[in-house]
């Protein structure tokens, strides 16, 4: 092993600590590595650098180079090695530097992590977390902005988690690490340092598969996740001035979807706006809309509305990027039209 440069030590977060989303991710990794020696972290720049977003800062000094592995730029091998290590008893957390670069590992995740338990009739399991920062709004261009979550929601055998808040990020990542099956864990990079809130302690696990009622309302529901929760909050504040009470449902987990929570909010408000930053066509919103149309048709009092990206790649320049992705004002306008339907 090469010599590693010591990094500033960082203690794990205490319960109630006020953290950003990326700090919450780091706290979850730290605590789970302390709790379970089978938990390891691997990826590009996760060790000496502590991650390009500092999500793994300090882990190398604390847990050593075998449990915090700086890998070559080999995404398929990162995913493949994580899978093989998981089959032999480890609990790997594989980091992809940007979700845009998870594509070379798509084969390992989709053809292998997703199928191994099923194809071995339960003989082998793959308890791996595949982490990646994702999402737009940071002027990152086409290779630092993509939203790839829908690609994985289509595949049986995978769980897909997208936390919107620091507390959820910490509690959900801990659940993902302890899960016996592969979990895709996408962290919206625009949200990494924009919001702080108190997080739970080492024992707070937030269950995968449960949506969170972010804000109760009356007149319409915004069903969303990730950065969409923050856009929805801003839009809801503005709509409150119009006398409209907007309910916000944060899905938190996209696979499996919390159908019961979706049904509850649809039955309550009868008007649904689905919001995501990923492209509209064949996206999460299409699936949720189809579910509502199939199962809750008589509960609706208006058309299902989707606010999503304009089916385009994401440019570096602000003018074009802003034209493509949703923002709070677009959510406000669409919600107002729906409320008045």
């Amino acid at each position: 092993m090469v010599e590693h440069i010591a990094q500033p030590p960082a203690a794990p977060a205490e319960a109630g600590a006020v953290l950003t989303l990326v700090e919450a991710v780091r706290a979850a990794l730290w605590e789970e590595m302390a709790r379970d020696p089978r938990v390891i972290v691997l990826g590009q720049d996760v060790g000496r650098k502590g991650g390009v977003f500092k999500a793994t800062q300090g882990l190398l000094a604390e847990y050593g180079p075998w449990r915090v592995l700086d890998t070559p730029i080999s995404e398929a091998a990162i995913a493949g090695a994580a899978i093989g290590a998981a089959m032999m008893g480890l609990r790997p957390v594989a980091e992809f530097q940007f979700a845009d670069y998870i594509h070379p590992a798509y084969d390992q995740i989709v053809n292998h992590a997703a199928t191994i338990r099923w194809r071995s009739v339960g003989g082998w399991g793959v308890p791996v977390v595949f982490r990646a920062p994702f999402g737009a709004g940071v002027r990152g261009g086409v290779y630092h902005s993509q939203s790839v979550e829908a690609l994985y929601c289509h595949i049986p055998g995978l769980k897909v988690v997208v936390p919107a808040t620091p507390r959820d990020a910490k509690g959900l990542l801990k659940s993902a690490i302890r899960d016996d099956d592969p979990v895709l864990f996408f962290e919206h990079k625009w949200s990494y340092r924009r919001y702080r809130e108190p997080v739970g302690g080492p024992d707070e696990l937030i269950p995968i598969g449960q949506a969170r009622l972010d804000r109760p309302g009356r007149d319409l529901s915004i069903i969303t996740y990730g950065v969409g929760v923050h856009h929805a909050r801003q839009a809801a504040d503005a709509l409150a001035a119009e006398g409209l009470l907007v309910e916000i449902l944060d899905l938190r987990t996209l696979a499996p979807l919390d159908h019961e929570a979706i049904a509850r909010t649809v039955r309550k408000t009868s008007k649904v706006l689905i919001l995501h930053e990923a492209n509209k066509t064949m996206g999460i919103g299409a699936e949720i809309a189809a579910f509502i149309a199939e199962e809750l048709f008589l509960d609706l009092d208006g058309p299902i509305v989707r606010v999503a990206a304009a089916d385009c790649h994401l440019p570096y320049n602000a003018a074009e990027e802003d034209a493509i992705i949703p923002n709070p004002d677009r959510v406000y306008q669409a919600a107002l039209r729906l409320a008045r339907f």
Binding site: M1, R38, I40, W66, R67, L69, T71, P72, S74, A76, A77, A79, G80, A81, A82, I83, G84, A85, A86, M87, M88, G89, L90, P92, D107, Q108, N111, H112, T115, I116, R117, W118, R119, S120, V121, G122, G123, W124, G125, P156, G157, D179, D180, D181
Partner: protein
Amino acid sequence: MMASEEQSRASSPTTELVVESASEATPLDEGALLLRIYRLAVLTRAVDERLWIFSRQGLAGFVLTPRGHEVAQIASALTLRVGHDSAWPYYRDMAVGLTLGVTPYELFLGALGRADDPHSGGRQLSMHLSSPRLRIATVSSEIAAHLPQAVGAAYAARVLGQDSVAVCWFGDGATSEGVTHEAMNLAGIHRLPVVFICENNGLAISVPLALQMPIASVAARAAAYGMPGTSVDGTDALAVYRACQAAMARARRGEGPSLVELRVPRITPHSSQDDDSYRSEAERAAAAAADPLPRLRRELLARGGWSEEADERLVAETRAAVAAAADRALAQPPPPPERARRWLFAGDPPHPYLAQLERAGRAEGDRHG
């Protein structure tokens, strides 16, 4: 780096080989080793012949066959400590499975798509092995995808402080996949205990080696990953055994990975769905002439201690046992349709026959301490 073939050819036939196994370091004479390999090769051939009959009868869909690779597979697999070292075979490695303890009955259950198949419940094509008890990783149909997984298993052994080796078999076609480079590079960087075994039959379905790579030897690629590469005649049982034994010993000493190329003939078409039309009569005849079984039989007879009568008895008994296993598998039912989505995630009840084998395996392990 490619001297081991010559060295092994030159060694005296009376040389005793030491099996470096966790359980015993018992000297094993070459005659006994060759006979063990031969018995397994005869068994493999009998199972393979029966699978082709099932295919022609329309009872087995897609038959993947090891014919020509048997000795390479068996002699290499015999260097593993079963259930301790992890095995990462590919879909042609029937004889790796039979050597490590998979039974013909299980293979027939799989090829016939029966519910009890403990490898995949009849979900995967034939020869897609899987056995947690024997530490055989579940095989996929995808070329080379298991190489980084084997490297991950070797990495896990280092993290967990175990001395187990990950052994990964693949064909020459797999060396053209990008992930092969990624896997070997990662293994080389960290000197991980993994043995890469390339069964080079010179054909990736129809594409010959000259259209796969611009150099003559797969083993030569090892240099790029800081590991030794050895090229061996894969029909020479003792040469295969020695080369793999050396690679295993190196891995166990913590010196890192090795690449062993075993040159073998492909006697049959790629699979039951392939017509082999891209090979000339002469090419097919040359492959058939390189069949390792007659060679091994001649060698055993020449050494003494093995006779034509014993050989005929072995073949007859093996065929009878295989026929009985095939009949037993044929009588088993297909999976209940309502089971189709079971085992997508953790928490489902165990597969009954797999659970039975795992329990028996644990009991066996307990008896042997």
